[in-house]
């Protein structure tokens, strides 16, 4: 009976988790180490100090069943360096990712790339005689769409930042 229940619930979903942690040497490796030691997935992970330099803010994207993600959150909360954790997936939130692409842009391609950038509200931020470097921000769907739109153009390098996330509404996590 219990077995069946678990089975029907066992759909893997993507979760975006926001973590406030002590900005201390080793804090990042504790989080990363937890994921490898317990065989949890990390799809992306971004981390940087906040306006309070003693704290870092991390956004982590993982996939798993509800049970597993609940465990992930509990285990993360158990890390002494973690000050606060919110699973953004539970509520309305915004997500952004930045992508940088260096691509071959010659002749008519130069205009074409600029047109595509206009459509996606991206920018050309560096150029040579034969290449452009462009930036686009958006949620992951938009980033995927940009990549699709540029598919037929030779890309020399692609860098994605991973997701950043924040809950909607007037409250912050502090």
């Amino acid at each position: 009976m219990v077995y069946e229940e678990n089975n029907t619930e066992a759909v893997e979903m993507r979760h975006i988790i926001s973590i406030l942690l002590e900005n201390e040497a080793g804090a990042l490796s504790r989080v990363a180490g937890l994921f490898s030691a317990r065989a949890y997935n990390i799809e992306s992970l971004t981390v940087a100090p906040t306006d309070d330099p003693t704290l870092s803010r991390m956004t982590l994207v993982t996939t798993g069943t509800d049970d597993i993600v609940a465990q992930v959150c509990k285990q993360l909360n158990k890390l002494i360096d973690v000050v606060k954790l919110v699973n953004l997936t539970d509520n309305a939130h915004v997500e952004r990712e930045l992508i940088l692409i260096k691509l071959v842009a010659e002749d008519e391609r130069r205009d074409e790339v600029k047109r595509i950038m206009d459509i996606f509200h991206g920018h050309v931020i560096d150029m040579t005689d034969t290449t452009y470097t462009v930036e686009v921000t958006g949620d992951s769907e938009k980033i995927d769409a940009v990549l699709k739109a540029l598919e037929h153009i030779t890309m020399l390098e692609v860098v994605r930042s991973g997701q950043l996330g924040m809950a909607r509404g007037g409250k912050g996590i502090v």
Partner: protein, 564 residues
């Protein structure tokens, strides 16, 4: 007055009320050892191997409830301590391990005896620190002790570069500490409690299942009240033995892989399971999909991450075991007269039928020494009141099954990690904590060889332990698995050469006695315990191919036991 970093460390230990530090010197900790030399408040126990230091501190902590403290040097000192740290971690034992580190300017240079101790120990500690500044020593120690001893306890490593221990600083120990990132769970949820109580009162086939958390959290007294006011059957895990008396008729013994028939059958058939300070370990649950198929589950634990980790539970109450049980007892109060008495009586009749199976029977008349017999005799000779440590293997299971622990903190074994070599050094820590109590280490001829060197430490500090070697000539537990699951192919579970344990004990300055017949077991034990100030090593030559029964094969359900 300014102190050196090394002196500050000693002052921190004094402020925490530490009486013993278990350690081994080396280059990176020489300033600290120099500071030890100049004082008498904290006694340093010099072991023979850093693993011994960690297990001794661990044994001390398990017996007293106070944190054990270890001091080792950098590099190999730290790596030798790793097994002991992991052992403490798996069983949630409060411990502080101070590891020396190379001087700050050499860190990262592959310096002599440099290892990344913080990196190596990260997955096996509750937390660890690398101290970068002499000004941070006192606060770090305060934090370390606070983290190690509160919530779900665990080992904390403090890595200290050598140069810092020589620098000077004014010492002040913080009286309190606030960590914004660490708040051990302590608020108990009344709505969950009330719902749990409703379920408990309606239960027809209830079962109480308790673990090491009750012992670590000092919740025995509250547990007694809880169990006795309900009159429900209770089973305890390997780590929980003693929290509730084994001799009480409400106790159905240990559960799990080598649990009793009655405990495992009751688990399998219960309708309400009340888990307290237990973590649904795989050695307890057997196959998860067959675990307690008809039960609603209530789980009380101090660690939120233990809730619904392996088994999804219906009601969760997170908090200190003493607080949770006090509140549960208060809420239950007179309501216990609403218990479904008729159903419970029927349930007990069923359980007593299972008990009648007498699953722990063995040949008590055997002339060849049965390991079970030694444990039962030991119980009699020590009035069931000794502190017993063990190593890992069949002898550990026999002790758990046959000693019958009536008090908490008397049974000291490595349950989570299953570390051979734990028993002897752990017993040293216990004996130092309780010099007037009887302390015995039950071991096997394989396990004892993993930390035999500590017999020398026992001599130096005059620790009159009783070492009970159940010598079956095999790595018995490995041999048992090979007998059951590998058609008796005894691959590498047998030593072609063994030491003469009597001579071994004597060479370390102790008393050695070899016992080969059942009729000599009792007199030998009595003789050993008569020698109050000597360590006596009893080498019992036991039945070579005795097995631990009952046994649940890995992957089976709790109702699928192999009986004798």
């Amino acid at each position: 007055m300014e102190l050196t970093g090394a002196e500050v460390i000693i002052e921190c230990l004094k402020a925490e009320g530490i009486d013993y530090v278990f350690g081994y010197p080396g280059g990176a900790v020489l300033h600290i050892y120099d500071a030890f030399y100049k004082q008498d408040d904290v006694q340093h126990i010099l072991v023979r191997h850093e693993q011994g230091a960690t297990h001794a501190a661990d044994g001390y902590a398990r017996a007293t409830g106070k944190p054990g403290v270890v001091l080792v040097t950098s590099g190999p000192g730290a790596t030798n301590a790793v097994t002991g740290i992991a052992t403490a971690y798996m069983d949630s034992i409060p411990m502080i391990v101070i590891t020396g580190q190379v001087p700050k300017h050499l860190i990262g240079n592959d310096a002599f005896q440099e290892v990344d101790s913080v990196g190596i120990t990260r997955p096996i500690v509750k937390h660890n620190f690398l101290i970068n500044d002499v000004n941070d020593i006192a606060e770090t120690f305060k934090k370390a002790f606070y983290v190690a001893t509160t919530g779900r306890p665990g080992p904390v490593v403090i890595d200290i570069p050598k140069d810092i221990t020589a620098e000077k600083v004014a010492f002040e120990y913080p009286s309190e500490i606030e960590m914004r990132s660490y708040h051990p769970a302590s608020n108990t949820d009344h709505s969950q409690m009330k719902a749990a109580i409703e379920l408990i009162l309606k239960a027809e086939r209830p079962m109480i299942y308790t673990g090491g958390g009750v012992i670590i959290g000092n919740g025995s007294e509250q547990l007694h009240t809880f169990v006795r006011s309900l009159g429900f059957p209770i089973t305890q895990t390997l780590m929980g033995l003693g929290a509730f008396p084994a001799s009480d008729s409400l106790s159905v013994g240990m559960l799990g892989m080598h649990g009793t028939y009655e405990a495992n059958m009751s688990m399998h058939h219960c309708d309400v399971l009340i888990a307290i300070g237990a973590r649904f370990d795989d050695r307890v649950t057997g196959a998860l999909e067959k675990f307690c198929p008809t039960a609603k589950i209530i789980h009380m634990d101090v660690d939120p991450a233990s809730i619904s980790k392996n088994v999804t539970v219906d009601f969760a109450i997170v908090g200190e075991v003493t607080e949770v049980l006090d509140e549960m007892n208060a809420l239950l109060g007179p309501a216990t007269n609403q218990i479904n008495k008729g159903a419970i009586e029927k349930w007990w009749a069923q359980i007593n039928d299972w008990r009648a199976q007498d699953c722990l029977k063995y040949d008590r008349e055997s002339e060849i020494i049965k390991p079970q017999f030694v444990i039962e005799e030991l119980h009699k000779v020590t009035n069931g009141d000794a502190y017993i440590t063990s190593d890992v293997g069949q002898h550990q299971m026999f002790t758990a099954q046959y000693y019958g622990f009536d008090k908490p903190r008397r049974w000291i074994n490595s349950g989570g990690l299953g570390t051979m070599g734990f028993g002897l050094p752990a017993a040293m820590g216990v004996k130092l904590a309780f010099p007037d109590e009887e302390v015995a280490c039950i071991t096997g001829e394989s396990s004892i060889q993993m930390c035999t060197q500590e017999l020398s430490t026992c001599k130096q500090y005059g620790l009159p332990l009783k070492v009970i070697n159940l010598n079956n000539g095999y790595m018995g537990m490995v041999r048992q698995w090979q007998e059951f699951f590998y058609e008796k192919r005894y691959a590498m579970s047998y030593f072609d050469a063994l030491p003469d344990f009597v001579m071994l004990a004597e060479s370390y300055g102790h008393v050695g006695i070899k016992v080969e017949k059942s009729c000599d077991v009792r007199p030998a034990l009595e003789e050993a315990f008569k020698q109050k100030d000597r360590l006596v090593f009893l080498d019992f030559i036991t039945d070579r191919e005795e097995n631990v029964y009952p046994m649940i094969p890995a992957g089976a359900g709790l109702n699928e036991m192999i009986l004798v």
